[in-house]
């Protein structure tokens, strides 16, 4: 697949390397001259110099023929406009933006960005998870739906009840549980134990209800 990445900071660079290693064709756009030089020394001709919200630069990078554009900069205003320009001017089929300020995620979705990755929320959720203070961690989100990981705590009201007897929030599915590295797909009869890691599909509002339930 041919992918254009806007922003050659730590996120854009490591994404570019990963995609190249997987055999994808990429173009990486960087607007800082010095950083552009560093990146070109390592990644060669796939690094393009310029402002990715400029239509001319987008075209130089090949936005008119890419299947996916990723806006990975640290500035939300740039990421939004880059994705919108890619859509309006080059009809890029799919755009994905990094969202730095969590408040902007809904705005990006409203304004036509196909997918968002809310890096700030992800990092804070992961830190909370590693510290052991949070038992529910968001693994992935799409629009207002998400996949979460839940550690079943001691004394949880769900213990000893089959999954089908749990009063799950609407649009929520408990997919699988992991117990001592053994993965089990959850069925109606399955029982949860304290210490199990449960993977669930839910919505933004369902997440709150899940926290209360488990």
């Amino acid at each position: 697949m041919f992918i254009v990445i806007a922003g050659g900071g730590k996120v854009g660079y490591s994404l570019a390397r990963g995609l190249l290693a997987e055999g994808h064709e990429i173009a990486l756009i960087e607007k800082n001259k010095q950083r552009h030089q560093q990146l070109s020394d390592e990644l060669g001709e796939s690094v393009v110099y310029g402002d990715a919200s400029d239509a001319f630069v987008l075209k130089q990078a090949g936005a008119n023929r890419c299947e996916l554009l990723v806006a990975a900069s640290g500035r939300d205003q740039d990421n939004l406009i880059i994705c919108q320009m890619a859509k309006i001017v080059y009809m890029v089929p799919k755009t994905l933006a990094r969202v730095n300020d969590p408040k902007n995620e809904a705005l990006f979705n409203l304004l036509g960005v196909d997918q968002t990755v809310n890096t700030t929320n992800m990092i804070s959720a992961l830190i909370g998870h590693k510290m052991g203070t949070s038992f529910l961690t968001e693994l992935m989100s799409f629009r207002n739906a998400e996949i979460v990981q839940i550690e079943v705590p001691e004394g949880s009201p769900v213990l000893g009840k089959p999954v089908k007897a749990l009063e799950l929030p609407r649009d929520t599915l408990l997919i699988a549980s992991i117990r001592n590295d053994q993965v089990q797909i959850l069925k109606g009869e399955s029982l949860l134990e304290a210490g199990d890691t449960v993977i669930a599909f839910t919505t933004r509002s369902g997440e709150e209800a899940l926290r209360t339930l488990i």
Binding site: S53, D54, A55, F56, R75, D76, Q77, D78, L80, I81, Q84, M85, I88, V89, D101, K103, N104, L107, L110, L111
Partner: protein
């Protein structure tokens, strides 16, 4: 009218002062508190210090109850971002965006934003002056 002006550079200052003189209720947003000193003494503008690309700052300036929103900073993407928050989220009826890049101005005008491109205006004027004299 109640009008929110983003950016207190040369353009923003001039527009805000003119609107105040016409007795409009004007709120100016700028990141730098020092820029407000440029406004004429005795002007009736309200000030909000902060980044216009932060939705909280736009709400603090009570953009949701404004009749018009003018994005006049010197940065195209910040203007487009703030203008779209004002138009799509806060439902401001009249939104005007200042842009330097003619391509961005055309692209977003197609999307329904009212854009004014300084570069196009300047080029046009220069051409006219050249022929006129």
């Amino acid at each position: 009218m109640k009008i929110v002006v983003c950016g207190c550079g040369q353009v923003g200052t001039k527009v805000a002062e003119a609107l105040c003189q016409q007795k409009h209720q004007v709120t100016v947003i700028d990141r730098d508190v020092e820029t407000f000193r440029k406004l004429e003494a005795g002007t009736s503008c309200q000030f909000v210090v902060g980044d216009a690309t932060d939705q909280e700052i736009l709400r603090k300036a009570e953009t949701g109850t404004a009749d018009a929103f003018l994005a006049l900073t010197g940065e195209d993407n910040a203007n487009l971002f703030a203008a779209q928050v004002a138009k799509e989220l806060l439902k401001v009826r009249k939104v005007i965006v200042r842009l330097a890049d003619p391509v961005r101005a055309t692209a977003f005008a197609e999307m329904g934003l009212t854009t004014i491109c300084g570069t196009d205006l300047m080029a046009d004027l220069i051409g006219k002056k050249l022929v006129g004299r």
